[in-house]
């Protein structure tokens, strides 16, 4: 087997053997565990090692949860371009889980803010959303995630019909943009992470642009002719 052939074979092997029907459940369990890891780490620190969270553990927790919300949104948005580029079609099987994890981290992020910072004082919370644009933007982003989480089931796809469902779920683009903006406006000093997020999001959007998508696919090292195809 020539070297140039190994990448297409690898992609095919991942698609058929690793993520194919026979092992998909195991792969899903593994990804599920990995997605849970950051949350588990935070939970462990809260219970057993609070000093590891620094002088202001609430701030550390809220920020970590927010960061992971954005990261899962971006990982989820990488599925479609990666799938088209590599030809690993079974990646699609993980997209819903990634999206739901983004929603889970976002929910706990919001709850931590409501509880730790605002002690569920609703009057104060309303004031906060009105007075502070970065909170408003984060809140809108979360609100847009709710209908997507609710309609993530197979039943809802059928009920809405594939076309409507796909249209609704395009909300993920603006809501991810708002989530990155929320982070950008919060961080006044070190913009490293917001910039990284923004660049990734921009690349993911670019990869969806039809000419770019076609170009990527044509020059993909994963999709040269495999013998027998």
């Amino acid at each position: 087997m020539a070297d140039t052939d190994s990448l297409p074979h690898l992609a095919r092997w991942i698609d058929v053997e690793l993520l194919g029907k026979s092992r998909q459940l195991m792969a899903k369990a593994l990804v599920f565990g990995l997605c849970l890891w950051p949350m588990a780490q935070l939970g462990f620190a809260v219970v057993f090692d609070p000093l590891a969270l620094g002088a202001n553990p609430a701030e550390t927790i809220i920020r970590a949860l927010g960061d992971w919300t954005i990261r899962f949104l971006l990982i989820g948005l990488a599925v479609t371009p990666l799938r088209s580029w590599t030809g690993i079609n079974h990646l699609i099987a993980f997209r819903r889980m990634l999206g739901l994890f983004a929603f889970a981290y976002g929910s706990v992020h919001l709850m931590a803010y409501l509880a730790f910072d605002r002690l569920f004082q609703w009057g104060e919370i309303v004031q906060d959303v009105i007075k502070r644009p970065f909170i408003a933007v984060g809140f809108i982003s979360f609100c847009l995630m709710v209908p997507l989480a609710v309609t993530s089931t197979r039943g809802w796809v059928l009920r809405l019909g594939g076309g409507h469902w796909a249209l609704l779920h395009r909300l993920v683009y603006p809501l991810t943009f708002l989530a990155v903006l929320h982070d950008w406006w919060l961080v006044k000093r070190d913009l490293t992470w917001p910039i990284i997020y923004a660049v990734i999001l921009a690349l993911e959007m670019l990869a969806r642009y039809k000419p770019v998508k076609a170009l990527l696919k044509r020059h993909s090292p994963f999709q040269h002719n495999i013998a027998g195809r």
Binding site: L51, L53, G54, N56, P57, A58, A115, R118, L119, R189
Partner: protein
């Protein structure tokens, strides 16, 4: 007056529930020992930042009036979570960056409306009556700590230069050395450097107003304002200027760096007051670090009403925020 909490004079109000548990305190020691080993190991590879700071033991008699029965905020936390914008605007930047500041030799220029203006060496200031006082420290960002400061009352320093009858205000100026302070080298200055703060003379002469040269039984770490800083416990933390190089007695009210940067957010007085909200932070409650919940009710004058309320009798504290 009924809103003022009645307390014995000179008695800081610190609840039993806020005492750091002994296990945490002891754990911290283990942790510090481990951290020490790590730091020295890291020091071999990168002999810079932390290694350069010289922090010496500093003995001072605890003032029983300010020695509540509780343990203060963990030292590790109080020395790694700091606002000192001359070293960067993140909370962790000062602890990482401040070692570059040269704090010896050091002197403070004391001038203005005084009979005997002079430059005073740190060594002479350290011979003033030092004592340890455990004060609440309340940041305008709605978090707080409890810190065992070592220092002397500002009025002892004033006595050395004899303010004239014209002196009505005091301006404190912090050190600003571009070559030693990363935060001063930003393309756009974060504040109007050098950092200045001001007090009314009677506020400065109040026995609570401390010039601090140490904390936790040691000389000050650079990130906490070495070698000498102001501590005004009934005002928001930014009033307590760090690393002071100049003190001026003035006839006119000075304008601080923060007031210049945002007049409507940072007033001259900046007394801790739960009834006056900052535009960006509600001041009703605070998070006593490292607690998770911002659940502590903030007290007027940070709980030092008995000592300082008389300074403001008849004043509208909402207008004079």
């Amino acid at each position: 007056m009924t809103q003022f909490r009645i307390a014995p004079p000179d008695m800081p109000l610190i609840r039993a529930s806020e005492i750091t548990p002994k296990e945490v305190f002891l754990n911290r020691r283990q942790w510090l020992a481990g951290a020490g080993a790590l730091t020295s190991a890291a020091g071999l590879l990168a002999p810079s930042a932390q290694a350069a700071q010289v922090i010496e033991p500093l003995a001072a008699k605890p003032n029983k009036a300010f020695a509540p029965s509780d343990a203060p905020t963990d030292k590790k936390l109080a020395t790694t979570y700091n606002n000192y914008y001359e070293f960067g605007t993140s909370k962790s930047a000062p602890a990482n960056e401040a070692a570059t500041l040269t704090v010896r030799p050091w002197s403070v220029e004391v001038t203005g409306e005084v009979a005997k203006p002079r430059r005073i060496d740190l060594e002479e200031l350290m011979r003033l009556p030092l004592e340890e006082r455990i004060y609440r420290f309340r940041c305008v960002e709605a978090w707080s700590m409890v810190v065992p400061w070592i220092g002397f009352e500002f009025r002892h320093l004033a006595a050395l230069v004899e303010p004239t009858s014209k002196a009505r205000f005091v301006r404190f100026t912090s050190v600003a050395r571009k070559e030693e302070m990363t935060g001063l080298r930003t393309a756009v200055p974060v504040l109007d450097w050098p950092y200045t703060e001001g007090l009314r003379l009677d506020e400065a002469m109040n026995p609570l107003t401390l010039m601090s040269v140490g904390m936790y039984g040691e000389t000050l770490p650079n990130q906490n304002g070495a070698p000498i800083r102001l501590v005004v416990p009934w005002k928001y933390g930014f009033k307590s200027a760090k690393s002071i190089v100049k003190i001026e007695f003035l006839e006119q009210q000075p304008t601080s760096s923060w007031t210049k940067s945002a007049m409507h957010e940072y007033g001259f007085y900046s007394n801790v007051n739960p009834n006056v909200d900052h535009p960006r932070w509600s001041q009703k409650r605070e998070r006593l670090l490292p607690s998770l919940f911002a659940s502590r009710e903030t007290e007027l004058f940070n709980g030092y009403t008995a000592q300082v309320a008389s300074l403001y009798s008849g004043m509208d504290l909402k207008a004079n925020f």
